[in-house]
Subunit: 128 residues, 2 copies
DNA sequence: CCTTGAGCTTCTAGTCACTGGAAGCTCTAT
DNA sequence: ATAGAGCTTCCAGTGACTAGAAGCTCAAGG
């Protein structure tokens, strides 16, 4: 398989696939013409990576997960630990965004938003 | 005021303040010894920026907001528009994170997390 | 056989908002 | 005189790509 087909089938852009090779997440072989030659197993890995990335795992987490995926003697506890840590990081981010959202929506609601210059949003930002 | 004092009073690290000067958000004058010399108005700007950044506004938004802050003939509608757009971007992010969270917490819950290798998390990532 | 266009290659540089570190100057206190 | 803190500049790195340029390869049509 050339990179284009793998891109179509995995849903990842060719640029991203090349990048994943650069950082050692996949290592396709090469055809005589220099083109990357992907096996089915490479496609599987890339699909795995795509899914893990949409769940927000970092590249380093993905590397770990891929390692566990390929390690038949893994313990599911290891996988769960990675996922749980990521889950709590997501929870932190959500909380942070909700805090922002709360303040910001109050400010937006309190601003009349017309042609006059006085504005509670700017007042808040200015510290007051 | 030297950068250290401004850093303490604004809550921003010196590095960040220098960076904000680099990109033209503040332009402190200079003392004879080459040190940056901040006025009260610079401190105000930096405090404004710090607050806007904690509300998640991008640097470019901050630049716009700072411009509006200093423009006495601004219309509050302009400020409100920037804030509203940012608010809806935050809402998008929250939704995205909540989607991730939902999937991930199901997966985590379904993984027994012991010393056996079989794992629904990996199964999901592998496209199963 | 030639050309056209799509697809592939590598490489560099840009994104965003800082942050770390090195090398070196200035100031204050002892 | 010296030690140490604080200031200066500049370069490089972060994460995860992404844009774009220059150039090679391949398949189809005339």
């Amino acid at each position: 398989m050339n990179i284009g087909e793998v891109a179509d089938r995995s849903g990842l852009p060719p640029k991203t696939i090349r990048y994943y090779e650069d950082i050692g997440l996949v290592c396709p072989s090469r055809s005589a013409n220099g083109y990357r030659a992907f096996r089915e197993s490479d496609l599987h890995k890339l699909t795995f990576l795509g899914r893990a990335r949409t769940l927000g795992f970092s590249i380093e987490d993905c590397r770990t997960l891929l390692g566990l995926y390929e390690d038949e003697s893994r313990e599911s506890a290891q996988v769960k630990a990675v996922a749980q840590e990521h889950l709590s990081a997501i929870d932190d981010k959500i909380r942070q965004l909700q805090d922002m959202r709360a303040t910001l929506s109050e400010l937006v609601a309190s601003c009349h938003g017309d042609d006059r210059p006085d504005c509670p949003i700017l007042q808040d930002l200015a510290g007051g």
